[in-house]
Symmetry: C2
Subunit: 334 residues, 2 copies
C-alpha cells in the first residue's frame, strides 16, 4: 500500500504567461487564425501578432498550471512542474502560482528563449483564440521531473500540449512510470482538437497501454481523436480504450465515463460568457479536487462545472474568487 | 490666433505598469498601508510587497496615461509623454498606449532603473491602495518635452504626481510655458491627498500664477489643499485661486466650478464597484473629451461621470469597452 500522498494533484505542463486582448472576428480572419483553437507560433509571428493586437493584460496561464491553481483554490494540495526562463515574465509566473498556494520548484533556465507566451484573442462572443510561443517551455526535460514529488502525489495530471516540445513527452512518460510505480494515478487532458490531430496515435497508445488512467476531453477533441462526427460512436470507442474519462460539452454539462456506466452531469447556468479561456482547465481542477476527497462521479462533475462557470464569467484563466467558498455556497463542500 | 491643434489632449505623467491583486483589509494593516491612497516606495519595499501579495494581473497604468487612453477611447486625438526603460514592462506599456490610439514617442532609457510599477491592492469594497515604485519615471527630463507636440495640443494635461520625480516638475513648467505661448490651455490633476500634502504650496502657486488654467480634484485632495474639513469653504477658496476647476465627489457626482458659477452634475448609477483604480483619471478623460468638442460644462461632467462609472466596474484603470459607443448609447455623442 502507498504512503499517504503529500499532494492531491501534481500538474506537469507548459509554463506560459497569457497576453490577453479583445479582438473582433475580422482580426482573426485577417491574421489567418482558426477561432477557438490553439496554434503554435514562432518568435517572429509572436511579435507580428503583438504589434497588431489591441491593448493587452498579462496574466499567468498554461493549461495544467491553471488546473493546479484551481485545485489549490478548492483547498486541495497542489504542485506544478514546468519550465520558465529567469526573466520578468518568468518571475511573474512563479509569483502567481506560488501565491495561489501551489508548490512550484522547477529551476528556471538562465539562457535560451524567453518565458513562453500565449497571445489570447477574445472575441465579443467570449470565445478565445490562442497563439502560443512556447519559448523556455521547449526546454522541459526528464531531469526536471522530481521523482519524490511524483511518488507522493495522488494524481499526476498532464496536458496533451506537452507532446509539442521536444523532450517534454519523455518527461511525461517518466512521470507516468514513477506515479504508477508508487501506486498513484495518471490523468491526461487532450488539450485541443489540433493537438489531438498532431498526436492522435500517440494519445491512443497512451490510453490503450494504460499509461494514463483518466482522460479529460471536450467534444471537439473526442471527435478529432476518433476522426468521427458520430458522438455516440466516439463515446463507445472511448470506453473500449480507457477505464475512466470525462467528456465536457460546454453548456450541455459533461459525461463521466467509467467502467460501471456513463453519468451525465449538468453545467451551471452562466449569465454572460465573457472569456472561455481556461474553461476546460478549471473543469479538470474541480473534478480532480472532488476525486481527492473521494467524492462520487456526479459531485466531481458538478465541482468541475462550477469552476468552469466561474472562470468563463471574467477575463483570464485563473479564478477570481475562492473556489472553496463557491463550492460551499453551492452545497458542494462543507 | 493659434493654428488648429493636432491633438485634443496631450498628457504628461509617470509611465507606470500596474500590478494588481486582491487583498483584504488585514493585508493593508499588516503592511502599514493607508487605504485608498498612493504611497511612493523604493525597490526593496516593492519586492517585499510583491512577495507578500496574491496572484496578480499586469496592466498598463499611470494616471495621465490612463486619461489620454480614455480621451482616445472617446474618439478624440490624444498624445502622451512619459519615461520608460527599454525592458519588457516598458515594451508592454508602449504597446498598450499606442494600441489604444495614443501618439507616444518619448525615448525609453537603455540604462538605469526598470520601468515604473504600481502595486495595486484591491480590497473587497472595491477600494484600491497603491504603492508606486517610480523606477525609470524618475528620469523624465525637460528635454523629453517635445515643443512641437505641446504647441499643437489644445490642452496639455499634467498629473500632480509629476512633482515627485526630480526633474519632472521642470518638464511640467516647460510644457506649461510652451502651451500658453502657443495659445493653448493647461490642466492639472491634484492626483492624491498625500501628494497634495507633499506639494501644497507649489500647487497653490501653480494655480495663483495662472500656470494652470483648469484643475481636477476630488474631495480629499481639495480638503488637503486648503487644510480644511469645510467643503463649502474650500470651494470658495478654490474659486478665488483659479478660473476653472472640477471637483469630483464619487457617487455624489461632481461640481464644475467656473467664473459664471458652480454646476452640480450627477454621477451615473453603478451596480457594483469592483475596483476604483482609474476613476479620477477616466473622469478627466471624459471631461476633457467634452471640452475638445466645445460641449457645455454639464455634458463634459456627464462624459466624465460615464467614463468613471465604466472603469470602476472592472479590474484595472483602462476602459474595457468603446467609450465613444458608450457615450452614444447614453445620448452624449452623435
Amino acid at each position: 500500500m502507498s504512503a499517504t500522498p503529500r499532494y492531491d494533484v501534481l500538474g506537469i505542463g507548459n509554463a506560459i504567461v497569457d497576453v490577453i486582448a479583445r479582438a473582433d472576428d475580422d482580426f482573426l480572419l485577417a491574421h489567418g487564425m482558426r477561432k477557438g483553437t490553439m496554434a503554435l507560433i514562432d518568435e517572429g509571428r509572436a511579435q507580428a501578432i503583438y504589434d497588431a493586437m489591441g491593448p493587452a493584460v498579462e496574466m499567468s496561464g498554461g493549461s495544467a498550471a491553471n488546473t493546479v491553481v484551481g485545485v489549490a483554490g478548492f483547498g486541495a494540495r497542489a504542485a506544478f512542474i514546468g519550465k520558465l526562463k529567469a526573466d520578468s515574465l518568468g518571475r511573474a509566473f512563479s509569483h502567481d502560482i506560488r501565491a495561489a498556494g501551489v508548490t512550484f520548484a522547477t529551476l528556471p533556465e538562465s539562457d535560451g528563449p524567453s518565458t513562453g507566451r500565449c497571445y489570447v484573442l477574445v472575441t465579443p462572443d467570449g470565445e478565445r483564440t490562442m497563439n502560443t510561443y512556447l519559448g523556455a517551455a521547449q526546454d522541459l526535460h526528464p531531469r526536471d521531473v522530481n521523482e519524490e514529488m511524483i511518488a507522493s502525489s495522488a494524481v499526476t495530471y498532464l496536458e496533451g500540449y506537452l507532446w509539442d516540445p521536444k523532450h517534454a513527452k519523455e518527461a511525461f512518460l517518466k512521470a507516468a512510470k514513477i506515479a504508477h510505480g508508487s501506486g498513484r494515478r495518471v490523468a491526461l487532458s487532450l488539450s485541443d482538437a489540433f493537438c489531438v490531430d498532431r498526436w492522435r496515435d500517440e494519445f491512443l497508445e497512451l490510453m490503450r497501454s494504460r499509461t494514463v488512467d483518466l482522460i479529460f476531453a471536450n467534444e471537439a477533441e473526442l471527435h478529432s481523436l476518433y476522426q468521427t462526427s458520430d458522438f455516440d460512436g466516439a463515446i463507445a470507442a472511448l470506453r473500449a480504450d480507457i477505464a475512466a474519462a470525462v467528456v465536457t460539452r460546454s453548456e450541455k454539462g459533461c459525461l463521466v465515463v467509467g467502467p460501471e456506466g456513463i453519468e451525465a452531469v449538468p453545467a451551471f447556468p452562466v449569465e454572460r460568457v465573457i472569456d472561455t479561456t481556461g474553461a476546460g482547465d478549471l473543469f479538470a481542477a474541480g473534478f480532480l479536487s472532488g476525486l481527492a476527497r473521494d467524492l462520487d462521479d456526479r459531485t466531481c462533475g458538478r465541482l468541475g462545472a462550477l469552476a468552469a462557470a466561474e472562470v468563463i464569467q471574467h477575463l483570464g484563466a485563473r479564478p477570481e474568487v475562492s473556489l472553496r467558498q463557491l463550492a460551499r455556497e453551492n452545497g458542494l463542500a462543507d
